[in-house]
């Protein structure tokens, strides 16, 4: 296996070796390398960047933009980016970056602060709301990326399934029990239908932490991963166990997808492309973007979706104030600290996050646009009646404690979620294991607040 490691080092060296330099020397021009993610069912970012490249190159003679794609899901992308970022020679100049990874890279000095450049870009102060700006801010208060997307999360449900199970439409659950009761009713009345789907295994990585666990934890009274006043990570506690108990109820009562599907990397594709259109699924806890696939331009056009699919806010545990909960994350376009031509790189980022680009991207992915002018444009919400609802969830949304240690904490949460999903551990045991692992993940027992 060490050889394998050596192999990857070699491969990286080779990639770096045949990268930017020959082009730079032969044309005498500058080159900006942009790293992004693409999948056959998710071409939206590539589409937007290709257009941005064309526009940028026409106004910036002498600068070429090299688009480097990473094929695969987000977890693959994080790994590839981390490896490329190991060396200044292989690091891309500009990259698409998940906001929860930003602080780890800031701590390592791999990202360039953009504040000086942002001061010269009027859009930054006029079009980006403060909540969104927060997402790309490092622990040092500087801004390390321009947001391209933001999102909220909630419950999607199949109206036909609800009607056949005798459940009310529109559905407005007030507590977790309401959600579980609806799922139980579906199971009882319609044995062929999967009552409830959520992400709860390691296969789904950060989606399991955020769409799954945090949507529950932040809906418990006072539930949080990180105590802002004491600046410490919260070690489990009753809130934590309660969140896991919800997951436990879903799988022990067989209200969720079969175990094989719960572990399937393609669970999202199954829920959105297969189960919802075929009325095989009742409720899904997922992101605002889920409906984008059903548009005429989506991966699985389904014109009837506007009549067949409903959406509701995820309720708080006991219906306590504010009644609903949501989590927000998002992606930014960031600049490497190793970029040689920073001014040019920043110019490209502004093109890639302009109104036009942001519109192309949001309409394609179904993510919420961080820009005010896009959100106000009728074309943005024209074909998607769910947009307004998910945008309004911003009133009850929470952000992840995206500190440097967060990815490690997230890994421990995924461990706990999976153990409860398979039944390997009870919610109490899984919580105890989390508490035990937490100090090592966050860098010491003094950074942990015991509950």
């Amino acid at each position: 296996m060490i050889r394998r490691l050596a192999g990857s080092v070699l491969l990286l060296a080779a990639v770096a070796g045949c990268g930017a330099d020959p082009a730079r020397e032969s044309s005498g021009g500058k080159e900006l390398e942009v790293l992004y993610r693409v999948e056959p069912t998710w071409p939206h970012l590539e589409k937007m960047l290709t257009a941005a490249k064309k526009q940028y190159e026409s106004t910036h003679p002498g600068v070429t933009v090299k688009l480097t794609a990473v094929q695969g899901h987000s977890e693959v992308y994080y790994t590839k980016l981390a490896l490329l970022n190991r060396s200044p020679d292989s690091a891309p100049d500009i990259y698409y970056h998940d906001t929860f990874q930003v602080n780890a890279d800031v701590a390592a000095g791999k990202l360039a602060p953009l504040d000086d450049y942002l001061a010269t870009w009027p859009d930054w102060s006029t079009q980006f709301p403060d909540s969104v700006k927060q997402a790309a801010r490092g622990g040092d208060g500087k801004t390390y990326g321009i947001p391209i997307s933001t999102d909220t999360r909630g419950l999607w449900y199949q109206k036909d399934v609800f009607a056949r199970a005798g459940l009310p439409v529109p559905w407005e659950p007030k507590t977790w029990d309401d959600v579980l009761t609806a799922a139980r009713t579906i199971k009882q009345k319609l044995p062929d239908v999967i009552p409830f789907s959520m992400y709860s295994t390691k296969a789904h990585g950060e989606a399991t932490t955020m769409q799954g666990f945090e949507m529950l934890l932040y809906g418990t009274p006072g539930g949080t991963l990180y105590d802002d006043t004491q600046q410490k990570w919260v070690a489990g506690g009753k809130n934590f166990t309660d969140a896991l108990a919800f997951v436990n109820a879903i799988y022990r009562e067989e209200l969720g997808p079969r175990q094989a599907d719960a572990h399937n990397l393609k669970l999202y594709d199954k829920t959105v492309f297969e189960w919802f259109p075929a009325a095989k699924l009742g409720i899904s806890l997922d992101g605002a973007w889920a409906s984008s696939a059903w548009k005429p331009t989506g991966s699985k056009p389904w014109p009837e979706w506007k009549d067949k699919i409903g959406w509701a806010a995820m309720p708080t545990q006991n219906g306590q104030e504010p009644g609903a909960v949501s989590m927000s994350g998002g992606w930014v376009i960031a600049m490497s600290a190793y970029a040689k031509d920073k001014k040019e790189a920043f110019d490209f980022i502004t093109v890639a996050t302009s109104k036009e680009s942001s519109m192309t991207y949001s309409v394609g992915t179904g993510d919420l646009s961080p820009r005010k002018d896009v959100a106000a444009d009728p074309a943005y919400s024209a074909d998607n009646p769910s947009i307004k609802f998910f945008t309004d969830l911003a009133a009850v949304t929470h952000y992840r404690p995206a500190f440097e240690a967060y990815p490690k904490v997230s890994a421990q949460i995924q461990e706990a979620m999976e153990a409860v999903t398979t039944g390997a551990r009870t919610p109490e045991e899984a919580m105890a294991a989390y508490v035990k692992a937490l100090p090592a993940a966050v860098g010491g027992a003094d950074k942990v607040l015991s509950r």
Binding site: I2, L10, A108, G205, P407, T422
Partner: protein
């Protein structure tokens, strides 16, 4: 697989040295090897030494520890031996090696080689062709074949007329079968070659003396090819120990950790959770285990020779 771990041929016993001229000749003989040796040292020994070093640090792929790693001594190894996930992966690796290599590939390869003796040329080339086709196939393609065979709407369920998610209910059986299917050709080729060296007159003499097929196999053939058996066992053990692509593509180590052998666990720690220091510590332990296996086999061969 890598050939680097193959047993090196016994050193040529040189006659007593006769002064500097002999040494000079040796140096001249080695000279053409120098570029290859330098490249090997640079691109193989270098990264290996580097990963040995970072196994003793808290190096990560992202975050502040990626640029400012601290020497942590044996902390990674202490953590490793108290880590239930590692122990689980180690057990699974053991099951995988014994099941798919030592029992599966080895026995099946021997049986096919035995059955092929004295068969018509056509039969031999057809069987060889089929078995070797699986060997030639890249790991990922082989995994894709087995995935579509075992998937819920795959060939097996269609033929049997049942609905069973094999990769979920029996992931270890699935990866073991896939690895046997893919790797048997190697053992078969080794044994075909070894069996062709068994003198036919010896076997015929035993037959004349009244030894049945089973006795002839046990007392004539197997003892004569024992060195090949040991060499083959060592090679396929080492190769299976490090097997990654097939399992990764077939089950991804899942569901949960049900088929997460040590190489997959190491990958998860190093490249998914970015704990490259810890991952390297696991790699180092793997290397030691592999070395231990080869020592045992080499010793067995030596004992046979004595």
């Amino acid at each position: 697989m890598t050939v680097a771990t193959a047993p090196s041929p016994p050193p040529v016993t040189s006659p007593p040295a006769r002064g500097p001229s002999r040494r000079g000749r040796a140096a001249r003989r080695l000279l053409p090897l120098a570029p290859a040796l330098v490249l090997l040292a640079l691109f193989l020994a270098g990264p290996v030494l580097w990963s040995v070093y970072i196994a003793f640090t808290n190096e990560t792929l992202t975050g502040s520890a990626s640029v400012n790693a601290q020497f942590v001594g044996l902390a990674n190894f202490v953590k490793l031996f108290g880590d239930p996930n590692f122990l689980n992966s180690f057990l699974l690796t053991f099951v995988f090696v014994i099941g798919s290599a030592v029992i599966g590939q080895n026995t099946l390869g021997l049986i096919i080689a035995l059955l092929q003796r004295g068969r018509a040329r056509v039969t031999r080339s057809v069987v060889n062709g089929v078995v070797i086709a699986a060997w030639v196939m890249p790991e990922v393609v082989a995994a894709a074949c087995w995935f579509s065979f075992l998937a819920e709407d795959g060939t097996l369920n269609t033929v049997l007329g049942i609905s069973q998610e094999w990769l979920y209910t029996a992931p270890m059986v699935a990866v073991i079968l896939a690895n046997i299917w893919r790797g048997t050709a190697f053992s078969m080729l080794v044994y075909s070659a070894a069996l062709s060296e068994v003198p036919t007159d010896l076997v015929e003499a035993a037959a004349v003396d009244g030894a049945g097929p089973a006795r002839r196999l046990l007392h004539i053939t197997l003892p004569l090819i024992r060195r090949s058996i040991m060499a083959n066992l060592m090679l396929i053990t080492l190769q299976t120990l490090a097997s990654f692509g097939l399992i990764y593509a077939l089950t991804g180590g899942g569901p949960g950790t049900a088929s997460q052998t040590t190489p997959l666990y190491m990958y998860e720690q190093a490249f998914r959770y970015f704990e490259i220091g810890y991952g390297s510590a696991i790699a180092l332990v793997m290397l030691l285990i592999g070395a231990l296996f080869s020592l045992v086999y080499l010793r067995l061969i030596k004992v046979e020779d004595a």
